[in-house]
Symmetry: C2
Subunit: 335 residues, 2 copies
DNA sequence: TTGAAAGCGCTAACAC
DNA sequence: GTGTTAGCGCTTTCAA
């Protein structure tokens, strides 16, 4: 019977074995000042030999500061995955550690955040939270909250986001430059940023004097929504020559839906996505899209979070500049 | 200055306010036996009013059992997301809580697991771990490990997995039944399960007396790998009439690559995927695929994990039965 | 530079 | 049903 898992090694064991006091051993393990090199060497050696692993819980229990930054994210959302990856990279700088809390079908942002509070996180980074501003503010009253990838005007909550309106404008302007005039937008349904991108689209169309041809089709986040939207677009009395999609995944659905009906992309219809997601350069046709620079976004969010945890800043908003990635799904307007 | 975040409310505060002892308050908060209904009501009311939140760390520090089950997963892997969702669902039964640890570019399974050990998890569920059996076994010596979605023969490690060989055989048999004989397999590169599916393909082909036409093309996990493989397949002297792909994402790439070259799916070439992923029914053509039943897989893994944590079982292996989902990407062989 | 003692917030063992 | 006592593994005064 493989019982008897290596019973726990504590700092007491290490100290005894290294014949020094527990506090001294503690100093060494924390790389704090106040121990001789000789002691340091000895303690470290013993710790290694015994397979000592500092107990995070006990440590944070004693030292009020937990060193934990909570992160909520949607498991099924590729863009969130990019940000999580970026946060891990940022966390490498040390001093603070990530605690993940997933938003899944059965668990919303509020419950996910609640878990993190019980973990005594010093600050929360919430990725694309679908939470009312009232609840968000209530949360922010308990712990510093940094909302990422969700345009938000909520006093007390930090925001790190892309300029959604500007991003869509980039797409529209790009298409207009290619000669397109009949450009429709497929939105993201109830997703964060969807209203902003929708509005940005309408503004950009107006700025180009194209208000009368502007049209928004309801969409969503997934490929299936794009396929559905394609059907709807194909049913229009007049087929547009270009489409801007809420995100890349749906853009992929759009392209596939159009191609299925024999409509060439970009020959007959151009499509521009949003996100510059992993698979976006490898579909039926490489996708022209808007890059959000998730790595930078994550880094800024992380810095904010630890800064707020240390009470170094007041909450504010940071808006990143979107970038157009021109690939194969957009081309000159037909005629 | 919005300083003064509601300073921490402890059990002592609750007890004082409810004029009872701390231990009694503790009993109430844990819903343990040994308190009168009247006390229960009073303490709960006070706790609610004060916004008391039990400190998980202190709790687990004191009670040796942490109630934590660690889960490692790849953030960028949609199939892992399904499993994580299933694990959260399983965890609803209570008693144990999930601690997530992501595997990202800069953090491998070993480091992810190491984090969980420091969290004092009682058992680990590792999703698709890409870890040598030696390291896995070393880990399993410290804590019960349940490997999910990775075929593995490693004493001391629990395994919950799909019958990969059987799954691919299902796909091959389905295609043969449709009249196909020239069937190629695009593998998953270095991904877990890739060797097993490759082998399953070869076996099934042999069982069908098709060994001489069997061919494996190198692939990977992403859509781009499928597109690349499509190019390779299109370059073959004789185009096969069917393809089995390591997963759905790559199958999508394959279909798109083929269609780009004017090859009809399933008219000219049939394609079968693996995973029954979210987007698989909404692509250019709805994908025929193999379902792994991630919900059940997750539930079994969870039960194993808490069972092992309580030392109720010895490690073992559970193999799930794959199921063929027939959709539009497979059809009768041409001729 | 080192060590002794106190205590973080909680639970568990025991007495009442 | 209730309170008292001890202590989880660690950090943190404080004194030596």
């Amino acid at each position: 019977m493989p019982r008897g898992r290596s019973t726990k090694v504590t700092l007491v064991d290490v100290a005894r074995e290294a014949s020094c006091s527990v506090s001294l051993a503690s100093i060494v393990m924390r790389d704090a000042a106040g121990a001789s090199d000789e002691t340091r060497r000895r303690v470290k050696a013993v710790a290694g030999r015994l397979g000592y692993r500092p107990d995070k819980q006990a440590r944070s229990l004693r030292s009020t500061r937990s060193g934990l930054i909570g992160v909520t994210f949607g498991v099924h959302q590729p863009f969130h995955a990019e940000l999580v990856e970026g946060l891990y990279a940022a966390a490498e700088t040390g001093g603070h550690e990530i605690v993940l809390s997933a938003v899944v079908g059965s668990i919303d942002d509020r419950r996910a955040a609640e878990t993190l509070l019980r973990d005594r996180c010093e600050a929360l980074v919430m990725i694309g939270p679908t939470l009312g501003t009232a609840r968000l503010r209530a949360l922010a009253a308990e712990v510093p909250v940094v909302a990422v990838a969700r345009p938000l005007s909520c006093p007390g909550v930090d925001v790190v986001r892309i300029d959604d309106r500007g991003g869509i404008a980039l797409a529209v302007d790009h298409l207009v430059e290619l000669g397109h005039r009949a450009i429709v937008h497929v939105d993201g349904g109830s997703a964060p940023s969807s209203p902003e991108r929708r509005a940005g689209y309408l503004e950009a169309m107006e700025a180009q004097g194209l208000s009368d041809t502007a049209l928004v089709i309801p969409g969503g986040l997934e490929q299936a929504h794009g396929v559905r939207a394609a059907t709807e677009i194909l049913g229009l009395t007049e087929l547009p020559t270009a489409i801007t999609a809420f995100n890349d995944r749906m853009a992929s659905g759009l392209i596939q839906g159009l191609r299925l009906a024999g409509v060439e992309v970009p020959g007959r219809v151009s499509v521009v996505g949003f996100d510059n997601a992993r698979d976006s350069d490898s579909g039926l046709v490489p996708l022209t899209t808007i890059d959000q620079n998730p790595a930078l976004m994550a880094r800024l969010a992380w810095e904010r979070a630890i800064g707020r945890a240390a009470d170094r800043y007041l909450p504010n908003e940071q808006v990143l500049v979107p970038r157009l990635i021109t690939r194969g799904s957009s081309g000159p307007a037909p005629h």
